[in-house]
Subunit: 430 residues, 2 copies
């Protein structure tokens, strides 16, 4: 699978796009990496979101190794970055496909030539089913799997699919949930009822079983037990469906795996059935990792995975948001030119990691005592010791916690080399 | 001042833009309101952010009346909507100018012909000052005011302004802050020192005094006292600067006023000095209002404002995010197709207000017992009583709390009439 980004790379961007230098002329996306802009030199406006190329490559290689070693496939969740340029690298890395959260995101994948997509959600709106049908009719090589968890949804999908006359069945993954969770069938009995209903619906084929364990994980010793219990439900339902001959197609897909406990999925989900089984992880955050929640959770992934995963380099944070000290109105307070609109705040506040002052050769690490304690829409409050060496005009680089909610605040992120020179503009579609 | 939106309205949008129908061809922004799309009929994908035209017009008229009655001017904070089409309506309503949060936002205003802009922030990066200089040199009619709160910032601005040879001074508003607050000079002594330094800097002129009282307001009886104390500092510093002859220009600008206590500002900030004084509010949220924090705070505005503000219709929520029930996996739980990426969650979670089911004539109000209790990136958890009449496929309209953080999640919002037919596409630039 080779993606075609030529149309995207030729599209012009201009300074209305956050991250694009104010004085630069409009230019095609592909030109951005050829300008020699340097973040530390102030060639770009602040705040700016950057992705460190070296770190992203390391993460890419790590996941390639991990899936190879464990024998599972990955369809990275594209909703994390919504960046076709990153999707293309993930496909080049050997990804089985791309996962998305809705049909609009699927549409973007199809437009650049992704041939295998999991829509990890209930598709049901007639406009969504109609669009899915159009995509499938226009490209016989495109495979799309979506989640099903109720008879009502199945009826809605069936009604629209019959109107559309697609010529092949839609392919569904039955979603297994749990009490107190999100979507997904709550009991094996209901799961089997739905599986039989899907198998009896000519417009929809049962392609596999799915769950999402990520919300059960809370960085605790009990995580593995909770995840195992859910995976056990998946395996039970899968075996029952297999025994009843409800799966269509030459193989069965079993899919789970966010970015918090994908190691447990890789270890415990694979199953032998009467047909070949493809086990598909959907981790999205590994590609940039973070400096907060996933950094903490990854230590548990390593601890559970044994040697050599503990001794070799692991995932490393690639995403930073840089802003400028616009005021230091009190000795212990500095105000930064970034806010809720620029950086994740749904799990942790950003974590200051580097300071750069004009004239210096390279950024310096900052003391852990420097902490972002509050955000407004366009401002961050940085608490520092009274004697902290921090001046109005200094640049501050922050790590973030939860890449998904930083990516979605930027239509353009800047990929940089080790010297913070921009080597590519990364365009997102949220 | 008449803004020119022709370039913007001619720009094409396509289905990669959230809110744009998946099957519709790419079209110019101005065409969107001519398609007859109806939200309730499902002509648009969900989630979708809509602005009710009638409500926005009512808010527009209310603020026009309020500023007329109180004799103050308004430069609505553009960072709320970042929507040039809304800026144009605000200018048509008689706004004195537009307020923005940074030079990139100023750039957008200048591009459509706004002639008076307050950058309600410390400008200091050399790239920002350089861009400001370019804009001022290219349009002699453009007036831009930015905030100053430190000698370090002043030195940075002066250095770049001298390099740029603008031919007229930059115009600064000295920002008064308070202990524990955000930006702004903390003491009258420091304020006077900075005012004298500005007056002694040929590249920068002191045009007025500014503060931001919005962060002092907590929906309590003490709000007015806190705000008054800050406004008193502004008046004291303004009088001292006036007495010392530090203000340049034919008039003095006094500015304050978010969307929470602008009535206090309008009442208490105006001042007689040796030059004419223009008092400028900067409220941004009034234009769409909300169904949460500003709805609560507005009741205090009315209570403080006396008759007739209490008896006549006030501001009314115009902004709604509609999503679809994708699953009802437990009797007391429904999962909606919207999440953190679609709706504000920094102050309150979205509030369900209307339900629509295919075949109905109009949306129905929903019981207050229906509550959004949690958001994931792409999902909302709606807690309902077990017997609630809510089905998979139903559409749910939610009010939001804090318009700024909903607008910034949408590059395209749909303006609708009373029947939820789309009458205009509203483009934002975050």
């Amino acid at each position: 699978m080779k993606l075609d980004l030529s149309h995207l790379l030729a599209e012009p961007l201009d300074a209305r796009c956050k991250g694009f230098p104010l004085a630069a002329p409009a230019m095609a996306l592909r030109e951005i990496g050829r300008q020699g802009w340097n973040v530390l030199r102030g060639d770009v406006p602040f705040p700016v979101a950057i992705v460190r190329r070296g770190a992203m490559r390391q993460n890419s290689a790590w996941m390639r190794e991990f899936t190879k070693a464990t024998g599972v496939r990955i369809a990275p969740h594209g909703k994390t970055t919504m960046c076709p340029q990153i999707f293309a690298r993930q496909i080049d890395d050997g990804a089985w496909g791309i996962t998305v959260a809705n049909v609009r995101q699927l549409d973007l994948c199809a437009a650049i030539g992704v041939k295998r997509v999991i829509v990890a959600n209930q598709v049901l709106a007639h406009g969504d089913v109609a669009r899915l049908a159009t995509l499938l009719k226009s490209d016989p090589a495109l495979e799309v799997f979506f989640l099903a968890d109720s008879l009502e949804q199945l009826a809605m999908v069936d009604a629209e699919a019959r109107r559309q006359e697609i010529g092949r069945p839609l392919t569904a993954l039955l979603e297994i949930g749990y009490e107190g969770g999100r979507t997904g069938v709550r009991s094996p009995t209901d799961a089997l009822t739905l599986a039989r209903a899907i198998a009896a619906t000519p417009t929809v084929a049962l392609a596999g079983i799915e769950c999402y364990e990520g919300l059960m994980v809370s960085n605790s010793d009990r995580d593995a037990g909770h995840v195992d219990a859910l995976l056990e439900s998946v395996r039970l339902v899968a075996m029952a469906c297999d025994a009843a001959g409800l799966f269509s197609g030459p193989e069965v897909i079993l899919s789970a795996g966010g970015s918090a406990a994908f190691d447990i999925v890789a270890r415990d989900l694979p199953l032998r059935m009467s047909k070949p089984v493809t086990t598909v992880l959907r981790s999205g955050c590994y590609i940039t990792h973070d400096s907060g929640t996933y950094e903490r959770l990854f230590e548990r992934v390593r601890a559970r995975s044994g040697e050599p995963w503990q001794s070799e380099p692991g995932l490393t944070p690639a995403l930073e948001v840089w802003s400028q000290v616009q005021s230091r109105p009190e000795r212990e307070l500095a105000i930064l030119t970034m806010g809720r609109r620029d950086v994740s705040f749904d799990i942790d506040l950003p974590r200051p990691i580097k300071r750069f002052r004009a004239g210096q050769r390279a950024p310096e690490a900052v003391p852990t005592a420097w902490q972002v304690v509050k955000l407004n829409d366009q401002h961050a409050y940085l608490r520092v010791p009274a004697e902290a060496d921090l001046k109005v005009g200094d640049l501050l680089g922050c790590g973030i916690s939860h890449p998904c909610t930083t990516f979605d605040k930027w239509q353009l992120l800047l990929e940089v080399d080790d010297d913070y020179t921009v080597v590519e503009g990364l365009r997102t579609f949220f």
